[in-house]
């Protein structure tokens, strides 16, 4: 696998190798992931699709270093993240990865601007520089005039934009989005997807999005289908066009 990356001159942004996750609740145990191996090249826009409970979000947590797999390995930029100590892991979360969540997860007591500055403050930037950059990022996502608003004073779509701006704070190589459109209506969801796609094109950020929003299919380079904790199939967008019709029929 590694040789292939060298040959093509492109690097893997994320690679998982037989990742397993078992949740133990008392005497019962549940295999949420049953050996998932996927590779994501840097600069790709990937959607992880699958029904609820298929393990998408669990996989998302593994890739993001938010939870530890019970088996297998996760590599980010060719580094096995199980070998990182808590400082290095924090650094990785702070600098390398930007997170976007279904529930936005903004800090409610902070303004849009302050929410965006937080990762930069953790990264050691001075307060003034962080504010300037946060204002720039908020302008980029179309919220230049909402800097001083608290999350509760913003609409869902606007809150998710703030989250997108925050995820970009430290120029991450990878943006992980867990159901970014799950709490949004069709139109605002589309806007967020377009925004992510634009960032992917303009900044070359790798985007990995767990979703069951079929609107995502149009913009993804590849789609990884997960079912029952296993990879069902991996499709390129070019192969997909024929199937969308039937899929939508299925879901509806």
């Amino acid at each position: 696998m590694a040789e292939a990356a060298v040959e093509t001159g492109r690097q893997y942004a994320v690679k998982t190798l037989d990742v397993e996750k078992e949740y133990v609740m008392g005497k019962q145990s549940l295999m949420a992931l049953k050996g998932i191996s996927v590779e994501v090249m840097s600069g790709e826009y990937i959607s992880i699709m699958g029904p609820s409970g298929s393990g998408k979000s669990t996989l998302f947590n593994m890739i993001g270093g938010l939870d530890k797999p019970t088996g297998g390995k996760v590599y980010i930029d060719e580094v096995d993240i199980s070998g990182l100590d808590s400082y290095e892991l924090a650094w990785l979360r702070c600098r390398k990865i930007g997170y976007i969540f279904q529930t936005f997860n903004l800090i409610p007591v902070m303004t849009a601007l302050e929410n965006c500055t937080l990762p930069m403050i953790f990264a050691g930037m001075t307060s003034q520089d962080a504010m300037d950059k946060a204002a720039e990022l908020l302008a980029l996502v179309g919220l230049g005039d909402r800097l001083r608003h608290k999350p509760l004073e913003l609409s869902g779509g606007q809150q998710q934009r703030v989250a997108v701006a925050r995820s970009l704070a430290n120029d991450p190589a990878i943006i992980l989005a867990d159901e970014p459109t799950g709490n949004l209506d069709l139109r605002t969801g589309k806007e967020i997807i377009d925004l992510l796609r634009r960032l992917n094109k303009e900044k070359g950020v790798t985007i990995i999005s767990a979703t069951h929003d079929l609107k995502m299919l149009d913009v993804s380079d590849r789609i990884i289908w997960i079912r029952d904790g296993m990879v069902d199939k991996i499709e390129k967008r070019s192969e997909l066009d024929i199937e969308v019709g039937t899929l939508e029929g299925e879901e509806a």
């Binding site: 938010l66 939870d67 580094v79 924090a90 529930t103 409610p108 953790f122 990264a123």
Partner: protein, 209 residues
Amino acid sequence: MLTDVKERAGIKRQIKLPNREAFKIALRSVKIRLWRSVITMVGIVLTIAFLSSVMTSGTIAQAAASDRTDAAALSAKATQVWLIAISLLICAVGITNAMLMSVTERYREIGTMKCLGALDWFVVKLFLIEAVLLGLIGSVLGATLGFIAGLLAGMSQYEHLLGAMPWGKALQNVAVAIGIGTGLAVIGAIYPARRAGKMPPADAMRTEI
């Protein structure tokens, strides 16, 4: 080999939370839950006021009758020590309870902070600063109130008290009471803060309340 790969990927360890920023965040968390903060603080104020007034009365009684030690006074003192110890204990339990609630309520916020790169001790630091703020404000208020109460009680008992009052000792008492109150708040907050800090981000965010 591993360090080599890490270096190539540019993974470092430097993550910061400057005190000034931590203080700002903690202050805001106190302010946003003002009502609850006030209730927690009232507990500290009352406890420390009690402690401070007892200490002040003790100092006054000593100054007024420095050469006398009678058994009644000593046994009264023993009861007071008990009362003080119990009130301090209750105060610490109250703070722990309030902070635990505050931690539970903020699971998601804590998880989010960790996703953004916060280390465990950032979270601990934020909660401890909050406790210090509550403890300090509460103790200063309490110690002052207690001192005034003790002084008024003393003045009704002894004439010419203001002239004979050992002010140095009295101020020292107030300082000690403030110290004890703040310390108590921190002790009460250590367990909740550590619990908050240790949570894995995924777990913290999965929790729904």
